[in-house]
């Protein structure tokens, strides 16, 4: 799994570690401060210069958060919506990616370009027509409304296609000769061979959908349908919003926990996955 070129003398190695340490420090310091600040009082957060450690670390911010917004419900919604959307994305992307990668049909290239083109439009531009459709379907303030518009994504199709193009045709042809249906080939051969890219897309889609803000804001009309980002955003309605800043930090900390878990669980696949997305020489 590891390919490394020239093993350099110890000087370069320590230089590399230095770079990594400095880099990781820059990456993680703001992060660490976010978590620490969730245990501070708001005045400590607002104090300048920066307060590093809370004088009296407490979970008051978390308690206040739980009382201010329906935290449990928000989490439930986010978990359900994000997981469903991610599964949907994985399904539609793998199906379409496979179709574009391993089949020839008239208009395939044009269709693929159209798929790519859909990545070039900022979402809120199409927000209104999508919302209009969703409300006509009767999906406002409901789970289908939150999930369905998001389960097809050009990025996912692009990624899957890159990967699947390099799957060996011989294996697929052999299965056809054996009489397997196209769907069986997809399900029994292509998918298992694609676990790495599924892991990769899975985590990318999960992170993106979890933090998705604008669409749930518009579709969820009552707070029983709030997802985590929307609920956290509602803290801004407080007239004394600066005073609840520690609650916002607590909310942000809670918000990343599922993402960290998903990342840690899938990262092995993730790295392996992207490795095979059409970058073979």
């Amino acid at each position: 799994m590891n390919t490394s070129y020239a093993i350099r003398p110890a000087v370069t190695t320590s230089l590399k570690y230095l770079l990594l340490i400095v880099g990781a420090a820059i990456m993680l310091t703001p992060f660490a401060w976010m978590i620490l600040s969730s245990m501070m009082t708001s005045s400590e957060i607002l104090a300048r210069p920066l307060t590093w450690f809370p004088a009296h670390p407490s979970f008051d911010a978390y308690r206040g958060l739980r009382d201010a917004i329906p935290l449990g419900r928000m989490y439930l919604n986010s978990m359900f919506v994000t997981t469903s959307t991610t599964i949907g994305i994985l399904l539609t992307s793998s199906l379409a990616g496979y179709g574009f990668a391993k089949f020839q049909f008239p208009g395939r290239d044009v269709l693929f370009l159209i798929v790519l083109a859909t990545m070039m439009i900022p979402f809120f531009v199409v927000l209104i027509p999508i919302f209009y459709m969703v409300s006509k379907f009767g999906w406002v303030d409901s789970y289908p409304g939150l999930i369905v518009p998001n389960i097809a994504t050009a990025f996912g199709i692009f990624l899957m296609r890159q990967y699947m193009v390099s799957l060996p045709d011989e294996v697929l042809d052999a299965a056809r000769v054996d009489g397997a249906s196209e769907f069986e080939i997809y399900w029994r051969i292509v998918l298992p061979l694609s676990t790495p890219v599924i892991g990769a897309l899975g985590i990318l889609a999960f992170v993106f959908q979890w933090n998705n803000f604008l669409w749930p804001l518009v579709v969820a009309r009552t707070d029983t349908m709030w997802t985590v980002p929307v609920g956290l955003n509602s803290l801004r309605v407080y007239a004394s919003s600066a005073q609840v800043i520690n609650m916002q930090m607590a909310g942000a900390t809670l918000g990343i926990i599922p993402l960290v878990i998903v990342f840690l669980a899938l990262q092995r696949y993730f790295v392996r996955g992207i490795a095979l997305t059409g970058i073979k020489g």
């Binding site: 920066l50 199906l95 379409a96 020839q104 990545m119 933090n211 970058i279």
Partner: protein
């Protein structure tokens, strides 16, 4: 040409057959679910958007009463709207800065992590963590760090004897600061993509070259970089795409300020649509942005193909 390049650059042009047979029907069937969803939820709405861009619409009146403007919105934006030009310039500035810095840093870190480094999983996780953080937390944290009067970064600079900087309060430094935060946020994501790309390069190629006495630098130039080009293309296309549409970060960090120095095209679009209630004009901006992105992407695909 690698399969990737075939795919990315001239999608299947070399191999497309025009026959409709059982296999190609299966092909249609596989792409159908995603395509239908995209048509309904992306393409259709975009066509609607193009149609709206030919009208004036404040979103409060029914569509049937929209006055027709023809190319009016477009000509206004191109000829009379100084802010459109300014935000367009800002957006390009941001995109170039973000792409160059992110790619260089992501690649460098990936190169380092590709070598014999301990605790690789830890470093990977460390660099990826900023990406999972929600924008609202990023805003609070970074405003705190970059505060021109009392921020942590200035505190650090003062401690080592360097002059303090206005960062987000300065017309000149705001955009570079924004690029800095954006790089912080995304470099881990692109690093992982590069990492995977590097890991796919067969070790024996390096072995052979080293036996011939090639230096590390030469190895990089003649083996790594060429074989990494498809990954590079993927990353550059994706970063450019998202950088040209940047919205969240400047929206929460600087609100486009000071004055308009970090006002981006999509921010101006959003303001035009939802604050000024000028949906016709906003959609015209979106269509023009789409044109630019599409052209850029095509150029990138072509450029990176020709060299092979």
């Amino acid at each position: 040409m690698t399969t990737a390049e075939q795919v990315l650059v001239r999608p299947g042009r070399a191999r497309a057959k025009r026959r409709v047979n059982r296999r190609s029907l299966a092909g249609y069937a596989f792409v159908a679910p995603a395509l239908i969803l995209l048509v309904v939820f992306a393409l259709g709405p975009f066509l609607f958007t193009i149609w709206v861009s030919l009208h004036s619409w404040n979103m409060l009146t029914p569509l049937t009463t929209m006055p027709f403007e023809g190319a009016g919105n477009y000509s206004y934006l191109l000829n009379d709207d100084a802010l459109f030009r300014e935000t367009f310039g800002n957006t390009v500035y941001f995109a170039v800065g973000n792409v160059v810095v992110s790619v260089v840093l992501a690649l460098s870190i990936a190169l380092v992590l590709n070598g014999p480094i301990r605790l690789r999983a830890f470093w990977r996780a460390a660099f990826f963590m900023p990406y999972v953080t929600a924008p609202v937390a990023i805003a609070i944290v970074w405003r705190n760090i970059l505060d021109s009067n009392w921020g942590m970064l200035n505190g650090l600079l003062a401690r080592v004897g360097l002059p303090e900087q206005p960062f987000l309060d300065s017309l000149n430094q705001a955009m570079p600061s924004l690029i800095g935060v954006s790089v912080w946020h995304e470099v881990g994501y692109y690093m992982i993509i590069f990492l995977a790309g590097l890991q796919a390069i067969p070790y024996d190629l390096y072995e052979a070259a080293k036996l011939d006495g090639a230096s590390t630098w030469r190895l990089f130039w003649t083996i790594t970089l060429p074989l990494l080009r498809p990954t590079m293309l993927f990353v550059v296309v994706v970063i450019t795409l998202s950088s040209l549409q940047v919205f969240d970060l400047p929206f929460i960090l600087t609100q486009g300020g000071p004055v308009n120095s970090t006002n981006t095209l999509v921010m101006y679009m959003y303001e035009t649509a939802f604050k000024f209630l000028r949906m016709g004009r906003a959609t015209a901006m979106a269509v023009m942005l789409f044109g630019v992105i599409f052209t850029m992407t095509m150029i990138q695909l072509r450029l990176l193909r020709e060299r092979e």
